[in-house]
């Protein structure tokens, strides 16, 4: 009943160390979030596919894991279940299942809960380290310990030690923590051709270029360049922008897509009322993906005709 998907398997391998590290940082709570997310996601897809007589795709495990790792550690489990159910149902199955979705399901689900429950999620961060002991609770939902995420701190003009960002000892969503682990995952995915290097590169270039331009332009609200190491910028660049289904297919379109995502992330972080813009940027990228493909194809055709 399971559809074999080697590429998705590789993404899962790449995610495994990050998930394990999140358990080290936040304790059993991280495991619970992962379990609920993957379990509910699988169940929704199973019920839908059973009716249709189709098979459950391995991609649903990727969606579940990606969604779980993008949640803050103390997120109420019912929100996890709701978000992942929306993701698999509305963003994927309704479009005809794996390979047909226009929007990245994990991101669609995350935005659904992020927009709906901004207050609850914003109060669900707790300090990282020692299997959740830092929060004083190994099991159950720790009391809302107010911690400031590095991105919020930089927004308020404080500086954050870079070493903590690289190693991941900082509060934030479960999987976005360690820059080093994410970089290793990226290397593995590119090496095994499970991810398109162009997409990652373009996203990074877009982000760095716009962030640099804002700083050089003397924009008062511009965040320091280290801000790209904080929040979920890298996590999204490596795992979300590379989703082969929702990204464009043509190389030039992929460059445009990545650049758009990277720059929109920085622009939203800097100017909008939302502190983090990565999910919106991916969804905006998904919205433009088909148009980019279309424009590139048309341009190629016109060139052909011109010859």
């Amino acid at each position: 009943m399971l559809q074999k998907q080697p590429v998705m398997r590789k993404v899962l391998y790449a995610l495994a160390p990050i998930a394990a590290f999140s358990v080290y940082l936040y304790g059993p709570r991280a495991l619970a979030v992962l379990a609920v997310s993957v379990g509910v996601g699988f169940l929704v897809e199973y019920l839908f596919e059973k009716k249709k007589g189709g098979k459950v795709s391995e991609a649903v495990f990727v969606t579940g894991t990606l969604f779980a790792l993008s949640m803050p550690p103390a997120v109420p489990l019912w929100i996890v279940a709701l978000g992942v159910a929306f993701a698999v149902f509305m963003a994927k199955e309704v479009y005809g299942g794996f390979g047909r979705n226009i929007f990245n399901p994990a991101i669609a689900g995350r935005l659904f809960v992020y927009i709906s429950f901004a207050g609850v999620l914003g109060a669900s961060f707790y300090p990282a380290g020692d299997f959740g002991a830092a929060a004083g609770s190994l099991f159950g939902r720790p009391d809302a310990v107010t911690t400031v995420t590095p991105l919020a701190a930089m927004g308020a003009g404080e500086s954050v030690p870079i070493m903590n960002l690289l190693l991941g000892f900082r509060s934030g969503s479960l999987g976005e923590s360690s820059v080093i682990l994410i970089a290793l995952a990226a290397a593995y995915l590119i090496w095994t051709k499970a991810a398109q290097w162009r997409l990652i590169a373009a996203t990074l270039i877009g982000g760095v270029a716009v962030a640099g331009a804002l700083i050089l332009g003397g924009v008062g609200r511009a965040l320091p360049i280290e801000a790209l190491l904080a929040g979920s910028f890298l996590y999204v660049a490596v795992f979300m922008s590379t989703d082969p289904v929702s990204a464009p297919k043509k190389p030039q379109a992929q460059w445009l897509y990545g650049l758009l995502i990277g720059s929109v992330i920085v622009i939203i972080r800097t100017f909008s009322l939302f502190p983090e813009g990565t999910s919106f940027a991916i969804l905006i990228g998904n919205t433009f993906a088909s148009l980019f493909d279309k424009l590139v194809t048309d341009a190629a055709k016109r060139k052909e005709a011109g010859k």
């Binding site: 226009i102 935005l111 919106f280 148009l291």
Partner: protein
């Protein structure tokens, strides 16, 4: 009293942060039936932008130089519809004379526009928010461009979705509504981006 909204800000706000289609739901009918086809979407979007900018300007003049002095504001709905119809008609004639090529790509969509609620909507918003002339034109142009952008994006996506094995009950308009929903969700990200001064 003219509100202190910067026309440039208004222009960008009406394209991105408060897209007339994605947040105000205006112009859905022609949007859904036309967006199936890429070329038509392009032409219709262009025509809408054109007509919206011009009617915003004309309606503003008619409203503040004719209706208000004569205390006939209660007739504004009818007058606006007539203005739209007249602008569309004149435009059709002008384009036909001036450029047959443009007429082929744009002219055929003009009659569709009279019944596009986005245009009347933009004018009614302009009236009720008491915009000045420059603000009205900026708002009209921005709303038109925003509509154009939305229909182009949707048309490109629909080419892909039409081939997908979507559940029978959702085929066509249903899945299109879901797609527009996600587009609206993405555009929420821009909110708060352009602080109206």
């Amino acid at each position: 009293m003219i509100p202190l909204v910067n026309p440039i800000t208004l222009f960008f706000a009406s394209i991105f942060t408060s897209n007339i289609l994605l947040t105000n739901f205006l112009g859905m009918c022609s949007f859904i039936s036309i967006s199936k086809d890429w070329r038509s979407s392009f032409g219709l979007g262009m025509a809408v932008t054109f007509v919206m900018t011009i009617t915003a300007a004309v309606s503003w003049v008619v409203l503040y130089y004719v209706l208000v002095p004569l205390e006939l504001e209660y007739l504004s709905f009818i007058v606006f519809i007539i203005v739209i119809a007249a602008v569309v008609q004149v435009l059709e004639m002008v384009i036909d004379r001036a450029s047959p090529a443009l007429y082929m790509s744009l002219g055929i969509f003009l009659p569709l526009i009279t019944v596009n609620c986005a245009i009347l909507g933009a004018i009614l918003f302009m009236q009720i928010r008491s915009y000045g002339f420059v603000q009205s034109v900026a708002f009209g142009a921005g709303s038109g461009l925003g509509w154009w952008l939305a229909i182009l994006l949707l048309a490109a996506i629909r080419e892909r979705v039409e081939k997908a094995p979507v559940p029978a009950g959702l085929k066509g308009p249903g899945i299109t509504m879901v797609t527009i929903g996600f587009m609206a969700m993405a555009f929420i990200g821009f909110s708060g981006m352009i602080a109206v001064q």
